[in-house]
Amino acid sequence: MSVLDGVRARPQATAGMLGRGRTRPQATAGVALTLPVAVFFVVFWLVPFLAAIYLSFTDYEMAGTPNWIGLANYERMFADPGFLNSAWITVVYTVCTVVPTIVLALLVAVPLSKPGRLNRRLRALVMIPAVMPLAATSMVWVIIYSDRGMANTLLGLVGIEPQSWLTSSDLAIWALVVMVVWKSMGLFVIILTAGLQALPGEVYEAAAIDGSGAVTTFTRITLPLLRRTLLFVLVISVAGSMQAFVPAFLLTGGGPADATQVLPYYIWANAFPYEHMGYAAAMGMVLLAAMVIVSALQFGFLKGGDE
């Protein structure tokens, strides 16, 4: 701390300028506070990442020495029906989990953000799916989706014929989507509720005086004000969906007939057990590029809505 004592009581602007408006104590503190994180990310992310980039240009099969094969892995991808199929399923899966999750979470969060004992209780209940371990919940969903399970029983009440949820190549992806929406909704409801509670009450009072209806208030006032929170939720859920591998792994094993084989699952299968590590790494890099582009778009939005 003695280094810092040297600049005591001096106005910040003149204290030990280091160019670009940087002060020595700030620089010291900044480096010291970020150093552990920097070391961590270099050792456990950057180095493995560089290794993975290198592997993506090799024929590494988890044994022996990797041989440099240039762009062969990347070329292979675009002739590989498995990859193209998985890439498309990932797009469908991402869109169809992110949009309903956020819309439903919003529809629940808006009334839930009002104060009251009932709402407080419900807020706790909404979190239950989020705290359930996925490995075990997927087993329960297998039961729910079975021929005479809950899904078909409920549909039967409204006169819909029983469906083969997990064993129909058309329905399995939707069965997966429903489980994922259910699992991830709770957290988003809570985040959105928090965002809603932060909205200034005066705006609503003004709207009420204006005689705006509930829908108008929601679209004209609530949504624009909530934009930052919404975008935050969007970024997390898109990133999560594009990398999601565990739900498909546990619920459907990628089937039936590869109908739920999302790209992360395909990458996983190519690495374990097929041992095509080089190819898996290359696909990982393509997924990375796609995510960087999508994130950049979202950050563009985020900035736009910020200041």
Partner: protein
């Protein structure tokens, strides 16, 4: 220009990182046992089983006491075994002994991860002829079998009776299976005759093996360098499979559950299914009453082909203690194990296994014994896993009506060409 430099830097950095990383795993001199005496420490990775777990642990403890060897057991979830083992192998930190499926042996052997069976510690002569073949790669034996399962036909006698079929005359040929299945299938196909195991690569490969080889065809040719379904026999097999069963039937317990509920009147399965059914609901399903077993069907006039799989014990080439590892395996495959496993319907096919316990005399075990000369473990090649995946893809895409047998066969051929 700038691009080139950047790429150079990246490559140098990555290469440096890799060298640093790959440096490990090659150290540690591998000392071998000098004499034929077990010693030291052995780690064992396996997947657990409730029925035989207790007995297995007792056996290991006895081994520890008798030979003063430190045995470390690690039970692993079967679904994550591959990932764990492959990571350990490529990190140069494999266990000494592990239990893996026979379909994994060729790839590991080709990648020089396996130690050959040490015949000073374990005699392969003790095993039923043919049961160690799937664990042998290029004439070198790399493992011994445990949980050996040749296929057989399970059928529901009560369903047969309902459909006006003789409950004591199960189908013998594939033609009869098809014929009976028509009679056993309800109009909405919610109840079927024979039900296949959809979406399971290993089982798809086994069924195609039975149907293609049984018609005199060849699924895999040229010593594993070529595989094809685009043959008369291949297309016929796919057509046959798509005409029977209903891929949309589902049950949390899979085909076992469908057979238990009676929705499936027949399933092809292994010896383990009998005890599993007994355990699930003793009162509902009794062998000989509600259900029975029959040998694997053949094509009319065709040769018997009985697909089979087995798990096997393997030892890592990098294990510093290979003699002890094989010595332990030999002990774990001994008479007490054979008896205890047999009691639970799990077969260790050492000679005389049927005399190890009362269950050895059962009808199921008689079928197993009779099918031994016709057992077919499928292709013993490094690409088995992907071949099996492609087989399941073909079977499923025809079953779901996504493609015709000819299309599916062509897709299969082009997929496996990339693999083999």
């Amino acid at each position: 220009m700038a691009d080139l430099t950047r790429r150079g830097l990246l490559a140098a950095g990555a290469a440096g990182a890799l060298t640093l990383l790959a440096g490990c795993g090659k150290d540690q001199p591998r000392q071998q046992a000098v004499d034929g005496r077990p010693h030291g420490e052995v780690t064992v990775w396996l997947h657990g089983s409730q029925d035989t777990g207790q007995q297995f642990q007792e056996l290991v403890h006895r081994y520890i006491a008798e030979f003063r060897v430190d045995v470390k057991l690690l039970y692993l979830p079967v679904g994550q075994l591959d990932a764990k083992l492959l990571t350990a192998f490529s990190g140069g930190a494999p266990p000494d002994v592990f239990k893996i499926g026979h379909w994994s042996f060729p790839a590991h052997a080709k990648k020089k991860r396996l130690a050959p069976v040490d015949t000073k510690a374990l005699s392969l002569q003790n095993y039923e002829p043919g049961t160690t073949t799937p664990l042998t790669y290029q004439d070198v034996p790399y493992g011994v079998p445990i949980d050996f399962n040749p296929c057989m036909l399970y059928y529901r006698k009560d369903r047969f009776e309902e459909a006006g079929l003789d409950p004591d005359k199960p189908p013998v040929t594939w033609e009869e299976v098809a014929e009976y299945s028509v009679k056993l299938t309800s109009r909405d196909r919610s109840r079927v005759g024979l039900q296949w195991l959809y979406g399971d690569p290993q089982w798809a490969l086994m069924m195609l093996t039975a149907l293609v080889q049984g018609k005199g065809g060849e699924l895999v040719a040229a010593g594993g360098a070529k595989a094809s379904l685009a043959t008369d026999q291949g297309r016929a097999a796919l057509t046959y499979m798509s005409g029977i069963g209903n891929p949309k039937l589902s049950n949390p317990l899979g085909a076992l559950g469908l057979f238990y509920s009676g929705e499936a009147a027949m399933v092809v399965s292994g010896a383990f299914l009998g005890p599993a059914l007994e355990k699930l609901g003793k009162d509902t399903l009794t062998f000989g009453k509600q259900y029975g077993v029959a040998p694997m069907p053949t094509w009319a006039g065709g040769p018997p082909v009985v697909p089979a799989y087995t798990w096997g014990w393997g030892v890592a080439k990098d294990s510093p203690n290979q003699f002890t590892a094989w010595h332990l395996v030999n002990y774990l495959q001994g008479a007490p194990s054979v008896a205890a496993n047999l009691d639970n319907g799990i077969i260790i096919p050492t000679k005389g296994w049927r005399d190890a316990g009362p269950r050895g005399k059962s009808e199921i075990m008689k079928i197993v014994a009779d099918s031994l000369p016709h057992v077919d473990f499928g292709p013993i090649i490094p690409g088995t896993l992907e071949l099996a995946k492609a087989a399941a893809g073909a079977v499923d895409s025809v079953a779901y009506g996504k493609s015709t047998p000819a299309q599916a066969a062509a897709t299969f051929d082009s997929t496996v060409r990339m693999v083999l």
